[in-house]
């Protein structure tokens, strides 16, 4: 077991190494001189020279990489080209809304999707099952910003239940915080819910055909006991796996959702940086998001043995 944990931890090193190389090379793979690209179309030659020196672009490529990766490993993600603030500080300032939105979305999606999936599998072939599946296909197809505007139109503009845009930190009180985050959570959560519900249904459906389910039924176990103790417990591994894979969807969606609802999180930071070609910020945010994805999936891998004692490493 400990051997496995160590091996699994070591396995994240090459993955993060590739991420680092890709993030580093982004600027160098794109056509043209990087300093000129960052400086934009109306830059003066001295601006370009200043950016080149500041980012160390005048040094050989491998030297640039090792300087950069050395700094990153010490938590130094460089400085913003425009505000000159450290990128790690900028990310720190913007992380709260993004974290809040991601957590609330995950809770919302899991709390809705798992019961939906289990229920649909239990009632397989009925209209309940078909409506859940219809919802899953719809939820997976309607892009997050379309849902976001639809929700905003109905619940903010027409009914006035929620603020149209903006974000209230949790420090301003729990109720205003919830009100500001409710619509973004639902908008972002729909696709995630659809994804999880689909897998939950499929895996529970498969478990329900097993012999021990029939045995459990024969000995007179109640439906809820059957579904929760036997079916859901055994379907937990694929469900948890898809929650981990879905984090990638969630991260992409956060960027869009924050933009639609004007939430000052990491997504907004990224978009502002992209529009100003503030390269160190883009690099830093992509690195942080990728690291989160890798760590969450590492955690899920280790969770398997807890969820399913038959899995031994």
């Amino acid at each position: 077991m400990y051997g496995y944990i160590i091996r699994r931890l070591l396995a994240t090193i090459p993955v993060m190494g590739v991420v680092a190389v890709v993030v580093f090379m982004l600027l160098h793979l794109t056509p043209g001189d990087p300093a000129t690209v960052i400086a934009g179309d109306y830059a003066r030659p001295e601006d370009i020279a200043r950016i080149r020196a500041k980012l160390g672009l005048d040094q050989p490529l491998h030297l640039q990489f090792f300087t950069w990766i050395g700094a990153v490993l010490q938590g130094d993600l460089g400085h913003s080209i425009f505000s000159n603030l450290p990128v790690s500080k900028l990310i720190g300032q913007r992380i709260e809304p993004t974290l809040a939105l991601s957590i609330s979305t995950t809770i919302f999606a899991v709390a809705l999707a798992v019961p939906l999936g289990v229920f649909a599998a239990w009632k397989a072939g009925t209209w309940i099952d078909r409506s859940v599946m219809l919802f899953a296909v719809l939820g997976f197809s309607v892009p997050v910003f379309v849902i976001a505007y639809l929700l905003m139109y109905v619940f903010s503009l027409n009914l006035g239940w929620f603020p149209v845009q903006g974000y209230k930190p949790i420090g301003d009180g729990f109720i205003p915080f919830l009100r500001s985050i409710a619509l973004p959570t639902v908008a972002l959560g729909i696709i995630y819910t659809a994804l999880i519900a689909r897998i939950a249904r499929a895996s529970v459906l498969e478990i329900l055909t097993e012999d021990y389910i029939r045995t459990a039924k024969a000995k007179g176990l109640s439906n809820s006991g059957l579904l929760i103790r036997h079916a859901l417990r055994n379907a937990a591994v694929p469900i948890v796996t898809i929650i981990g894979i879905g984090i990638a969807l969630l991260i992409g969606g956060v960027v869009v959702t924050e933009s639609v609802f004007n939430i000052p999180g990491l997504g907004r930071l990224t978009i502002d940086a992209v529009l100003r070609r503030d390269y160190p910020i883009i690099q830093g945010v992509i690195l942080v998001f990728s690291a989160v994805y890798v760590v969450v999936n590492l955690f899920i891998d280790l969770l398997y043995t807890v969820l399913d004692p038959r899995i031994r490493y």
């Binding site: 190494g17 197809s141 910003f145 379309v146 960027v255 869009v256 978009i271 992209v274 070609r277 992509i286």
Partner: protein, 293 residues
Amino acid sequence: MAAVIDDNGLSPSQRSWWPKAKDYCRRHPTVAIGTAVLVIMTLIAIAAPLITADPLKLTPIKRLKPPSESFWFGADFLGRDVFARTIHGSQVSLMVGGAVALVSTVVGLVIGLLAGYIRWVDSVVMRVMDGLMAIPGVLLAIALISLAGASLTNVIIAICIPEIPRVVRLVRSVVLTIREQPYVEAAIAVGSPLPKILFKHILPNTVAPLIVQATYVCASAVVIEAILSFLGAGTPPEIPSWGNIMAEGRTYFQIAPWIIFFPGVFLAITVLAVNVLGDGLRDSLDPRIARRM
């Protein structure tokens, strides 16, 4: 299995393709519906210049006017016809969806075949693919476009890069199971050259899952293109696309929601059709999965 022999006592292979197609559509209505919607969308996209006015024409007096007889979907903040813009926008979405599906499938197929069959390639390639898959696709695409500049080609390339690893993984997993089959061992034993084994014996097995995967890649590409354009890091603003029409409508959402509503509906219908088609194809091409799902 009920329809193997039809009324005239002919087996499916003896009938012409039309009744066969009709029969297939009856058994897989989702494939038929998805295909029909996409064919209509494609026709609309091709015929866009014929059925609508100029999407760039300014009619300042009509600025932000709601849907009417002359402007079916209303007018935007410059007085441009939202109907014309939405219809023209379908060209970008379908082109990007189709191109990304094609390019990432072909590239992913080649890499996946090699990785699955040649051991040393596998360990290197799969590490790179794992790394690429850890980077959120939308962010990677946004970053690439902001650096490479906004153009249709760059949008297609930027969306392909995060999609390719998914195709590689799929192809590789198929190859890994097929290469252990006795007939592949037999081919190796009689001394078939590597390209022949790969393309003649292994490749055909990847086609069915690849077609299904290609539809999902296409759906995801259409969504990502819209997201990129919506965020201002995608299709250049002079080309109307569903994403950038909606982006331009954001400021006026409270007074002119139709600018966002209509392209949004078109976008959702298109993605839905592609996904439904993909689900249907998966069920019809792989009965094993169909029974489980």
